[in-house]
Subunit: 340 residues, 2 copies
DNA sequence: CTGAAAGCGCTTACAG
DNA sequence: CTGAAAGCGCTTACAG
């Protein structure tokens, strides 16, 4: 047998038609059980695999999802938020389980990624995962909607924009802040962008605001300092706060990366965590547990999130009813707030 | 126009044949410049994209690479060594630059991944990236070789086994150990598996041995403690060493994950890093810089490595001459050894 | 339960 | 420089 075997080769060997081979390989109930068995045995012997392109071309579906990861600004060529990376594992596994392949691509938010994958039939649908200015993001989503592209996005609900899967950021932010308050902290800084440009961070900030107000504390603008989600930004933000002479006894960082950078900045200035300043992060990335001190944080369940993203997209592709989903978060107390 | 536009639609609008459209879209020198221009303009207007499956089926190449990531034993469903993840970024970018799509899949080393992607024409070649027992790995590689599958593997040269790209682990291990010796450390523990089951770790160990012997130090078996590449394994290994009463003033950990876990274990026992025990890791994963104290380590250039993996595989696919590549490492001194 | 036939949307010899 | 035609390897009505 030269070259790869085809369904015709199997048909010949099995003494049936190629149509029957095609049906048998997909366990069609139309085919007699013993025919299925014979065909599949021969296929196995020939190490035959259905040609992906031929079957996709004919059936007009590729059994492939595309994952678009983007991050703007990208601090470094290869630095991707570990939070997204940890979702990647869960997404690939969920895809495999559903019988889909996964195409992965990293992009700048600023790139022209909004077409291509579905138009060229490379993928049946797109998973969008990333961090960047929502004001730049929305027009791209709008274009996807207009094109009728099937996609699901990690992030908060966004009115009039397709399907999303996201965490309850507001509740998570409130839990984190209440935790600090319960431990007796009163001057709690929020490190992270708090505007509609970064809706997830903004929701966490809103949770923070709500917790403080409920505890009878006032909201001081001086205690909020912008930072994108990198260690460097966290380091810089805390340094700025300290240079400015702002007084605080706790930090709620909008992400673990920020928190890790923040702890570094505190320790570089000789401040002790948690004795002088307690720190809470958000995400529970793998580093959090091994930071020094181990970081109290708000866990986003990446396993469940990845599975949900894939499931929502696949259901959408199949034409089944779908709706956006919000996943609860969970506070994980560690030593950075003083727990044992 | 209902449904997606095809090359026939463009042909009709441009007043040329479909063959000419196909050529024009790929900038064939056979086609008159103005025809190319007209065809491409119309294609753009229609938001036309070449159907990936049709073109792949006809041309018998998919312009897609498959990345197989595996890790055994997998400690956690979603925990993947950040070192591999950071290569992922570089690999996707290199693929895009070369005009290839990238299919990503996570597998257990124990899974049956050794076929499928190329057989079903999903990918033109495979990039293998992972960590696991080499004794389990080799038979799979052998099978790939026998099938004539085009692949490239991250790791050391392996006689009679296809193409590889890897770091100079022995030299890296030697550099790390010499660094500790130069700082006056004399009782240096090696944490990591040091057998042919884990050739990369073993090469690092050999570098360690060489450095010690060159410095006139003896190799004490009690100073070597097995660990796979997880924080937990590093933590456990150091705990074992301490429980056993082994005396040491430095640790060379076979990976950063091990090193981070090791530092945790030391600090949990009240030992100071670097005062009591200096620590060097391997990889320079993002965490290393933000560990406490920041971790001295041997950097593997993941950007270059990813690019090289893609380039080697693409050249192999194109039938160009290729050979395995070894990339140099670089010592990155940080505070875990006492540097400023 | 099975087969003959059409056709998915391209690329690429072949002919001019 | 361009066109008519074949064919990549499947899936799926259609007919029996």
């Amino acid at each position: 047998m030269k070259g790869k075997a085809t369904s015709f080769d199997i048909a010949h060997l099995a003494g049936v038609s190629q149509s029957t081979v095609s049906r048998a390989l997909r366990n069609s109930p139309l085919v007699k059980a013993e025919t299925i068995e014979k065909v599949q045995r021969i296929a196995r012997e020939l190490n035959y695999k259905v040609d992906k392109h031929a079957s996709s071309l004919r059936s007009q579906q590729s059994a492939t999802l595309a994952l678009l990861l983007f991050e703007d600004p990208t601090t470094d060529d290869s630095l991707i938020n570990p939070f997204f990376l940890s979702m990647l594992g869960s997404i690939t596994r969920a895809c495999a389980r559903q019988g889909f392949d996964l195409l992965v691509s990293f992009q700048q938010l600023s790139d022209d990624w909004h077409a291509d994958y579905e138009d060229s039939h490379k993928a049946d649908g797109i998973i969008l995962l990333g961090y960047g200015d929502d004001v730049d993001y929305q027009p791209k989503l709008k274009q996807l909607d207009q094109q009728g592209t099937r996609y699901v996005r990690w992030g908060p609900l966004s009115e009039g924009r397709g399907l999303s899967v996201g965490c309850d950021n507001r509740q998570g932010g409130q839990d984190a802040s209440q935790h600090l308050i319960a431990l007796g902290r009163r001057r709690i800084a929020f490190i992270g962008n708090a505007s509609h440009h970064y809706p997830e961070f903004f929701a966490r900030y809103q949770g923070y605001v709500r917790a403080l107000l409920e505890a009878g504390l006032s909201i001081e603008p001086a205690l909020q300092q912008d930072a994108i989600t990198t260690e460097q930004a966290g380091f810089d933000a805390v340094t700025t706060l300290l240079d400015r002479g702002t007084d605080f006894d706790a930090i709620f960082a909008a992400s673990d990366l920020i928190a890790v950078g923040a702890m570094q900045a505190l320790q570089a200035r000789g401040l002790r965590v948690p004795d002088d300043v307690a720190v809470v992060g958000f995400d529970d990335i793998p580093v959090a547990r091994f930071a020094s001190p181990p970081l109290t944080t708000v866990r986003q369940d990446t396993k469940r999130a990845g599975e949900q993203l894939v499931e929502s997209l696949v259901r959408q592709i199949r034409g089944e009813p779908v709706r956006s989903v919000t996943i609860p978060t969970q506070l994980v107390p560690r030593k950075s707030c003083g727990e044992a």
